[in-house]
């Protein structure tokens, strides 16, 4: 594996060029911006009203105020974080611009860092207004979680980037045939990471898989905070540990897939 592929000669200037390129694209297209906001809003409203309904009819849900809305907002950080990363990458393939990028002095690690930055930008545009709508409609203030929110966010965004990096590698190696994975891969995490219910609900054997996924610790941590009013540092540290392993594995897989794409000539044919 080439030393440059793993980060030697890193240039913030080139990262800035790529971020500028994605920003120009985003601001030139209002449907792209609308798309960032509308689905998180719909999700938050649907789950918020559902929670309102069941809380009026069940004592447990009355105590667990905000669990559903909290879950859907944190899930959107995970899902939209990965989507923000992958869509920026896909934009290069849609534009047939990947050849220009891959033959420029831009290092793979710089490309990945620029995609991470754009994932945060897109997430911010989509999620920040929705968190204020949650306050307005349901009195649920995600920002009041304070330090816990920071811990939740770091762990969720790390997972979303790791998955985004892996999907980018698959796209480089397999072309647009792997596009649908970019849109759907995170839904595999939805039942397994126990976004809306505790891990104990799963069959015993499935719980082992669930606890191997970093977001599971975040959603359990959120429930502990909202229901029992306890911040579980242990869960956050465990999530971080799993995230480091996941991120390293995804980065390694990306570089291997890129090397394989160079070997098989896939970078010349990034169509279907």
């Amino acid at each position: 594996m080439n030393k440059a592929d793993i980060g030697l000669g890193f240039s913030l200037n080139r990262v800035g060029a790529m971020v500028r390129r994605y920003w120009y694209l985003l601001r030139s297209s209002w449907p792209r911006i609308l798309d960032l906001v509308y689905w998180p809003t719909v999700q938050m409203l649907m789950w918020g009203f559902l929670q309102l309904y069941v809380s009026q009819n069940a004592g447990f849900f009355a105590r667990a105020g905000g669990v559903f809305i909290g879950s859907v907002l944190l899930w959107d950080i995970l899902f939209r974080g990965q989507l923000g990363f992958s869509i920026s990458f896909l934009e290069e393939m849609y534009a047939h611009n990947l050849g220009n990028i891959m033959m420029s002095p831009l290092r793979p690690v710089e490309f990945i860092v620029s995609l991470m930055i754009m994932s945060i930008v897109r997430l911010s545009i989509g999620m920040i207004p929705v968190t204020f709508l949650a306050i307005a409609f349901f009195g649920f203030n995600l920002w009041s979680l304070g330090f816990a929110l920071v811990a939740f966010f770091i762990n969720l965004i790390l997972t979303s980037w790791a998955i985004g990096i892996f999907v980018a590698g698959l796209l480089l190696r397999n072309g647009m045939g792997a596009e649908s994975l970019a849109w759907t891969i995170m839904f595999l995490f939805l039942p397994l990471t126990c976004v809306y219910y505790p891990v104990s609900v799963l069959p015993h054997w499935l719980q082992y898989f669930s606890w191997a996924l970093p977001p599971t610790y975040v959603f359990e941590g959120m429930r502990a905070l909202l229901i029992d009013h306890v911040f579980r540092t242990d869960l956050m540290l465990e999530a971080l540990g799993f995230n480091i392993v996941l991120f390293a594995g995804a980065s390694f897989a990306f570089l291997k897939l890129l090397a394989s794409a160079r070997k098989h000539g896939s970078l010349l044919q990034t169509g279907e």
Binding site: R14, Y24, N100, M102, P105, L267, L268
Partner: protein
């Protein structure tokens, strides 16, 4: 200093096999600095694969390629900022304006004085009035000029061109060729040009490499090729090679 370090591009016994199919079959050539060479061949001859390996985009199965003394693709980041390419099969982002596209690529290539460089190139390539227009709204000829501007942004010492005038009207194509001649003369750049347009190759190239089924079938200056095949034009030579007619040189042998 060995010959590969002195050459701008050195290709040595290069082989590329895709899933059992021989795309490039042990070819060798060296391009001196400041030269302009045409790479000819029909579809599937191995031109695009050869150029892609020279750019570090594809890993060779065997053999070596060096550009400006750097082994490709292993040492590509030593020289990518000194190279550039243009191909009608690679687009620039359509929603970005010409100026935005050029400034992003200028930054990627580490160009100093980006604004001034873009203004000079725009004036030279007659793009000034389009600079703030979306790239996707330009005509084919205007897009080709934008791609050429991108390819010249970093004043490359090695320029790889894949069908640089494909889909252009004769006037615009002629205009592009003149710009390439000027650039090569002013910057002593090494240019490797893959083309199906024989008039273009005859006008621009001082040397022609003809490929067929992954191999080099012939490699010489245009005049000697014409004499050897007993033909008036490179197009006739190309057809002789493509259809397996060796020409007069074979008859003489």
């Amino acid at each position: 200093m060995d010959a590969s370090a002195q050459s701008a591009i050195s290709v040595d016994r290069l082989t590329k096999i895709y899933k059992g199919t021989m795309a490039v079959d042990g070819i060798s050539f060296r391009l001196p600095r400041g030269s302009i060479t045409g790479l000819l061949g029909g579809n599937g001859a191995g031109k695009t694969t050869t150029i892609a390996i020279i750019m570090g985009l594809v890993m060779p199965t065997a053999g070596h390629v060096a550009v400006l003394g750097a082994e490709m693709p292993k040492e590509r980041y030593r020289v990518l900022h000194r190279m550039n390419f243009e191909s009608p099969y690679v687009d620039m982002p359509m929603r970005l304006t010409v100026r935005q596209n050029l400034s992003v690529f200028a930054q990627l290539y580490g160009v100093a004085d980006i604004g001034e460089r873009i203004a000079n190139l725009a004036a030279d390539l007659d793009l000034t009035e389009f600079l703030d227009r979306q790239t996707g709204k330009l005509s084919a000829g205007q897009k080709t000029r934008v791609s050429l501007a991108k390819a010249l942004l970093n004043r490359p010492e090695v320029l790889l061109l894949d069908e640089p005038t494909a889909s252009l009207d004769p006037d615009t194509a002629d205009w592009v060729r003149t710009r390439l001649e000027n650039y090569r003369r002013e910057h002593s750049a090494t240019i490797l040009l893959a083309s199906h347009n024989m008039n273009e190759v005859e006008r621009l190239c001082e040397r022609v490499i003809i490929m067929k089924r992954g191999r080099i079938e012939d490699d010489d200056v245009p005049d000697r090729l014409l004499a050897r095949y007993g033909r008036e034009t490179l197009e006739e030579v190309f057809l002789d090679v493509a259809r397996g007619r060796g020409g007069q040189h074979e008859a003489a042998q």
